[in-house]
């Protein structure tokens, strides 16, 4: 659980995340601001959705989505059927939108020029079982337009990168789920794409592999890549990034850091657990604040329900200084992706997502 007194990006400062509100989108329009500093802010977004809709017959896949992604890692979360996979497929150029435009680095996502900037790792696990992992990745390298020697070199490099170099000669039929994930990841990384679209990339990977994958994703983000990661593994996603795009019913419900999104959820006061050397005095003082909805007290802690977290923390800081109260513990109780998702998606358990 992140400590509110620290930056929510404590473990992710390497990405140069800004702490100002970037954007939160409701009503389907989401402009996801830059997370890489002012230089990148001026650049073209790598991925741009402009009022995009996609229907499957009478069913709407995504509805009037506007989204802008720049370098860094973004988690894509939402319930089953919320439109995550459709959004990824549109971004990968696998489908054409019925309305609106999807562009990658300024090119129509459907075009070959755009696809040179994209690495797509789909969720599916069954593919070309008779081939060896090496053959498959090499074939995908040839698809990217490399001459054989270069395709071979890149194949070997990316297989080493995903720790499959020594197992790549076995047929895919004999691979575990985790090994299949690594091979899929390898084919997505082959051409050093600026935009990586990863659908459930951590699913089925063992803990060590997950840690390695997370490190790899961070390293890629540090190198200025844009990663859009759809995942049901919210805990893993939280370790990776706190920037999320939350989808619901084909729309982008919110985009931004979890803290920013949480701050704007006025209907759901933030619960904060505080321990101090003067709990009784602190509780009385907190109850006088307009932004505090209530305070519960047990033997060691206070649990405060803050209506406006940002103003609350400003007031709390002034309060403890004025009254010489020593805070020994402070944590937010419902600022996780699960909680935010649960609030945003209106009552359905976020763990269903």
């Amino acid at each position: 659980m992140p400590d509110v007194l620290e930056s929510p990006d404590a473990g992710r400062r390497d990405r140069g995340l800004t702490s100002e509100p970037e954007a939160l989108a409701t009503q389907s329009n989401a402009t996801f601001a830059d997370r890489s500093g002012s230089d990148a802010r001026a650049e073209e977004p790598i991925l741009l959705f402009q009022h995009v809709s996609k229907w499957y017959g009478p069913v709407i896949g995504i509805n009037q989505v506007t989204l802008e992604l720049r370098p860094g890692i973004t988690g894509l979360v939402g319930h089953n059927g919320s439109g995550k996979s459709t959004l990824l497929r549109l971004a990968a150029g696998l489908m054409r939108p019925d309305l609106g435009d999807v562009t990658i680095a300024g090119h129509d996502a459907w075009s070959a020029d755009a696809k040179r900037h994209v690495g797509y790792c789909p969720e599916l696990d069954t593919f070309y079982e008779e081939m060896s992992g090496r053959q498959f990745v090499l074939t995908m390298a040839r698809m990217c337009g490399y001459a054989y020697d270069e395709a071979f070199r890149r194949t070997e490099e990316t297989l080493e990168l995903v720790a499959m170099g020594d197992r790549a000669d076995r047929t895919i039929a004999g691979y575990s789920k985790g090994m299949r994930q690594r091979i899929k990841l390898a084919q997505a990384l082959l051409h050093d794409p600026e935009l990586l679209l990863l659908d459930e990339p951590l699913s089925g990977i063992d803990p060590i592999g997950r840690r390695e994958s997370v490190e790899l994703f961070r390293e890629l983000a540090r190198r200025g890549k844009c990663l859009l990661i759809s995942s049901h593994e919210l805990e893993e996603l939280e370790k990776l990034t706190d920037h999320v795009a939350i989808m619901a019913a084909g729309r982008i419900a919110a985009v931004g850091t979890l803290t920013q999104i949480r701050d704007l959820l006025d209907d759901h006061p933030l619960s904060i657990r505080i321990a101090s050397d003067q709990n009784r005095i602190l509780a009385a003082a907190l109850l006088e604040l307009d932004d505090v909805g209530g305070v519960d007290r047990d033997e060691r802690h206070l649990v405060v329900r803050a209506k406006n977290p940002r103003r609350f923390f400003q007031c709390l800081a002034e309060l403890v200084v004025d009254r010489m109260i020593e805070i020994s513990h402070l944590e937010t109780l419902d600022e996780s992706t699960h909680d935010v998702l649960g609030y945003l998606l209106g009552g359905r358990s976020a763990r269903d997502a």
């Binding site: 499957y56 069913v59 896949g61 089953n80 059927g81 996979s85 497929r89 990968a92 150029g93 696998l94 489908m95 054409r96 070959a112 020029d113 696809k115 040179r116 994209v118 797509y120 789909p122 599916l124 069954t126 593919f127 070309y128 008779e130 081939m131 053959q135 074939t139 995908m140 040839r142 698809m143 990217c144 337009g145 490399y146 001459a147 270069e150 490099e157 080493e160 990168l161 995903v162 720790a163 084919q187 051409h191 050093d192 390695e212 994958s213 490190e215 790899l216 961070r218 390293e219 890629l220 190198r223």
Partner: protein
């Protein structure tokens, strides 16, 4: 893992997406060739080829033996030779040889492709693995052409390649077979052209089979995906349609144009046209005009291409 991240910037020129057709085809061919059943079918085709290949030597041996025997018994061998040549005319390297060879091999090809369609194309859609291809910098037409190329290679391996070997065998036996267009008329050994026109006709027949069958297979396999439904579709197209056409034209004496519903008849008719058969020599009689058969094949191919275009507009999968 992250420490291993060391891309070297790519300095070279990217190949055109057209280069991706062969890797796509090779993946499909690799899967095809890894199945024993298809080697079995290929072996059946090879047996037919061997029949034609060694049959030519059988014909030559029979002619020589007949000549000797006729002299011993004091009979005119020419009449008997004509009878033998007429009976074994499909082995003499003439238009008949290639017509029968393509027709027999075509039967095996149709069986093979109806069994292999799911593996070559349908599984991509069943498993959604075509997403890997379509996410790369190629267009959907490159993907379709890659799949068609795989089918075409199989067709060529089973028809054109052995037919060229047969052609080479006859040319090797007698060089004038290759150089003299009127070889058969001058030697009174058969009909039709020899030489380069026959070679071009063989290549054209193979090309016709490759193009039509590959487009048809890719379209029907994208539609049906699974093996059994695909077999039923191909049985309907190549067997039941043929039976129906025969009933309508030969049995009920309907117009010859009803034979156009028999796609295989249209293919073989055009093939025989390339081999310089006269319209009235084509069996079964009566037949529609050449241009009508060509129009039907072009129409079916166009419909298949339109379907392929529509089907690969996107990975239209609702989870």
């Amino acid at each position: 893992m992250a420490s291993l991240l060391h891309y070297r910037p790519w300095q070279g020129e990217f190949h055109s997406p057209w280069w991706s057709i062969w890797p796509i085809a090779r993946v499909s061919l690799g899967m095809f060739l890894s199945r024993r059943m298809f080697w079995g079918l290929y072996a059946c085709g090879l047996l037919l080829f061997l029949m034609f290949f060694f049959g030519a030597y059988l014909l030559a041996w029979a002619e020589s033996q007949l000549g000797v025997a006729a002299q011993q018994f004091g009979r005119d061998p020419s009449r008997m030779l004509r009878g033998i040549r007429q009976a074994l005319r499909i082995l003499n390297g003439s238009q008949d040889t290639f017509q029968y060879f393509f027709a027999y091999q075509g039967g095996i090809i149709v069986v093979t492709l109806s069994l292999a369609g799911s593996l070559l194309v349908g599984d991509d859609f069943t498993n959604k693995s075509h997403a890997f291809y379509l996410a790369k910098p190629i267009s959907r037409w490159h993907y379709i052409l890659g799949k068609c190329a795989a089918v075409a290679v199989i067709v060529q391996l089973m028809t054109t390649l052995p037919a060229l070997v047969l052609y080479g065998q006859h040319a090797f036996d007698d060089w004038s077979y290759l150089t003299n267009v009127n070889y058969f008329y001058e030697n009174d050994t058969g009909k039709g052209p020899a030489g380069i026109p026959l070679l071009l006709a063989v290549l054209g027949y193979g090309l016709l089979l490759s193009v039509f069958l590959s487009v048809l297979l890719v379209a029907t396999a994208m539609w049906m995906r699974r093996t059994m439904p695909l077999i039923l579709v191909w049985m309907s197209l190549f067997f039941f349609a043929r039976v129906l056409a025969n009933i309508l034209v030969d049995g009920l004496k309907y117009d010859a144009r009803w034979r156009l519903i028999d796609l295989w008849n249209n293919v073989t008719m055009l093939g025989q046209g390339m081999l310089a058969y006269a319209h009235e020599d084509i069996n079964p009689k009566p037949q529609p005009e050449f241009w009508e058969a060509a129009a039907v094949l072009i129409g079916v191919t166009t419909i298949c291409l339109m379907y392929l275009n529509h089907r690969t507009q996107g990975v239209e999968i609702v989870d």
